[in-house]
């Protein structure tokens, strides 16, 4: 009798936890459903490949797509070498109990916790005001680098995504069995040769996951680029590294909050959100798939 009551109470609470999960899943579904329903009508090849027209109440989002791609490309070029090499230091070179390695780890954890808008302030204070103005003073060609631009925005995002790359790369290095390193060293290869020819190729899929996650994160962040280079509207595509740029995420913010005619821009807004959401969800799915494959292969090797 008493046991039956305990079982009943347990059943009720267990269902409550299941309900909590159902709540999260249904919110996720609701977001995706709303965006797809609202944006599907607008989404077309023309929408993706034409520029906004008539004060952004008509036309497409090509400049924003182009700007987002350029931004994340530059960011990836900047963040991958630094992130991967830092992870290599932490996992392959750092002596056991190294204080320096511990300090690097603490820094990385804290870097991951810094609010994105503070990264924006940092980009403005360091890259734009300090580096940019110093470059202008040295080169003497007037105001070129000392203002927000796609270069400074992408470098800011590179600092922001650095922890993502370091953590995923280290995980990838950890999944390479020690026996492979030992075999290579025993055959007379040096540590760096072992890294380049044995460890890194084996860890490549995991490192790729880090790159994909970083791109996904970088493509979706708006607060940092708001302060370091994103433009409300530009009639032309960015011409060089010192140009400002349009960005999908910022475009969503602009259309959602600064539009003079909300009803007229509503389809455009939903279309833009669908493009951004599609991009980031696709990237995340790719990362999940690579990861699942790596885990399966990793187990087979071990």
């Amino acid at each position: 009798m008493k046991h039956a009551r305990r079982k009943l109470v347990g059943g009720v609470f267990t269902s409550l936890t299941g309900l909590a999960l159902a709540l999260i899943l249904s919110m996720l579904f609701l977001i995706v459903f709303d965006v797809v329903r609202g944006g599907a009508g607008t989404m077309s090849w023309a929408f993706l490949t034409t520029a906004p027209e008539e004060g952004m109440t008509r036309g497409g989002i090509f400049p924003a797509l182009y700007g987002t791609a350029l931004l994340t490309l530059l960011m990836t070029v900047a963040v991958m070498p630094v992130g991967v090499v830092t992870a290599i230091y932490l996992h392959e070179y750092a002596p056991k109990g190294s204080r320096f390695a511990a300090a690097v780890r603490v820094a990385v954890v804290n870097l991951a916790g810094v609010p994105s808008v503070v990264f924006g302030l940092f980009g403005l204070g360091f890259f734009v005001s300090f580096l940019g103005r110093s470059m202008d003073r040295l080169l003497g060609g007037g105001l070129v680098w000392g203002q927000p631009s796609v270069l400074w925005a992408s470098l800011t995002l590179a600092v922001l995504t650095l922890p993502v790359v370091i953590v995923t790369t280290e995980e990838a290095l950890r999944s390479v069995p020690a026996s492979q390193r030992l075999a290579s060293l025993a055959l007379g290869a040096t540590v760096s040769q072992t890294l380049r020819r044995v460890v890194l190729p084996a860890a490549a899929p995991g490192i790729l996951t880090g790159a994909v996650l970083a791109v996904s994160r970088g493509a979706g962040e708006v607060a940092p680029i708001l302060l370091t280079g994103a433009a409300y509207y530009l009639p032309e595509l960015p011409k060089g590294l010192s140009s400002q740029f349009m960005h999908l995420g910022y475009h969503v913010y602009v259309l959602a909050t600064q539009s003079p005619d909300v009803e007229a821009t509503r389809p455009l807004l939903y279309g833009t959100v669908l493009a951004l959401l599609g991009l980031t969800v696709a990237l995340n799915l790719v990362a999940v798939l690579i990861r699942a494959r790596v885990r399966r292969h990793g187990r087979a090797d071990a």
């Binding site: 267990t14 409550l16 996720l28 609010p115 503070v118 302030l121 020690a178 979706g220 995420g249």
Partner: protein
């Protein structure tokens, strides 16, 4: 044998620099040393980045405490104590940095951050932890493999999209539900924020719960406890360090999150305890006002000062979380 730190622990330093080596071998040794030096140098960039963030955000805020012009407009008492805004009225907290006489009280912004953060945590902590408990303890194994990545997809949704969703969908739904006089308010922003932090709470909690040794569960079940009793009274307490870490991480994320609050809170810097009033957070203030500010003005420096406060707050939270987890791990004796 531990395969970590190959470069320095596999062989003593003298052995790696054997003196009798000929030309090519010596060249190889030098190259190895050079690679190690470069790798170490690059690893230093992580520390440098964190230091540069603090230095350069603080540097732009510094004029507030040094420049005599700026000190007239901004002082500690003006930032945190009530000020007489209009003759004959009681002193009040007002944030109006671009009026004839700038009013720079940070209290409305601190309150805005507090309100939205509390709403988000009250919603996200129980829901996220309960879901983690379900996935870790009750879900069938085959389902579990799928559930975690799906919930983590929510974490991959950009915050501007969550802000858009809060602005377009949640705001209307919540207004219909609560009858709030203004559409965009602290409650809407808080619910939007909850969507952003619930995956953080879920993932970290689920990792902590899964890391509890199964011998704990087996012992509890063998003593006649039901599955719920085992999960709630044995597994959950053993995972406390991870759950605390999840809460602190979520708190840090909620305090710093910008776009959702910027889009869904209404952005009026009011001093009000009501969740149905429009509100303005610290992070949203930076994002909203940095575009129009005169570079180098006291207002510009003030926005950087808010940034320093946000940085300090999240830094303390992260450090506290790490220290607390280490302490509890030692006490509970479970590796998470």
């Amino acid at each position: 044998m531990d395969a970590r730190s190959l470069g320095s622990s596999f062989a003593p330093r003298e052995a790696r620099e054997a003196p009798g080596l000929g030309g090519p071998s010596r060249w190889r040794q030098r190259r190895e040393k050079l690679v190690e030096a470069v790798v170490t140098l690059v690893a230093f960039l992580g520390i440098a980045a964190l230091a540069l963030i603090l230095v350069f955000v603080a540097k732009e805020a510094l004029p507030l405490f040094l420049d005599t012009e700026a000190m007239k407009e901004v002082s500690l008492s003006k930032l945190f104590l009530p000020q007489v805004v209009r003759e004959g009225r009681p002193p009040a907290f007002v944030w109006q940095p671009v009026s004839e006489v700038p009013k720079v009280s940070l209290v409305p912004l601190l309150l805005g951050t507090l309100k939205t953060t509390v709403v988000a945590l009250v919603l996200a902590l129980p829901v996220g932890m309960a879901s983690a408990l379900f996935v870790a303890e009750f879900a069938p194994r085959r389902l579990r493999v799928w559930l975690k990545p799906v919930v983590e997809l929510l974490a991959g949704i950009p915050s501007v999209v969550l802000g858009f969703f809060a602005l377009m969908v949640l705001a209307s739904a919540l207004q219909a539900l609560t009858g709030a006089p203004v559409r965009l308010n602290a409650l809407v922003a808080g619910v939007g924020l909850a969507l952003a932090i619930v995956p953080v709470v879920f993932t970290v909690s689920e990792d902590a719960l899964s890391a509890v040794p199964s011998s704990y569960r087996e012992a509890s079940l063998a003593l006649g406890a039901t599955r719920w009793e085992t999960a709630f009274k044995v597994v959950l307490p053993a995972a406390t360090p991870g759950l605390v870490a999840a809460s602190l991480l979520a708190l840090g994320r909620a305090v710093g999150e910008t776009m959702i609050v910027l889009m869904a809170s209404g952005n009026a810097a009011l001093v009000s305890a009501s969740l149905f009033d429009s509100t303005r957070s610290m992070s949203a203030t930076i994002a909203a006002e940095m575009g129009e500010v005169v570079v180098g003005s006291p207002h510009y420096s003030l926005l950087f000062l808010i940034g320093v406060l946000l940085f300090a707050l999240t830094f303390v939270l992260n450090t506290a979380a790490a220290a607390w987890v280490r302490y509890l791990n030692r006490r509970v004796g479970v590796a998470t």
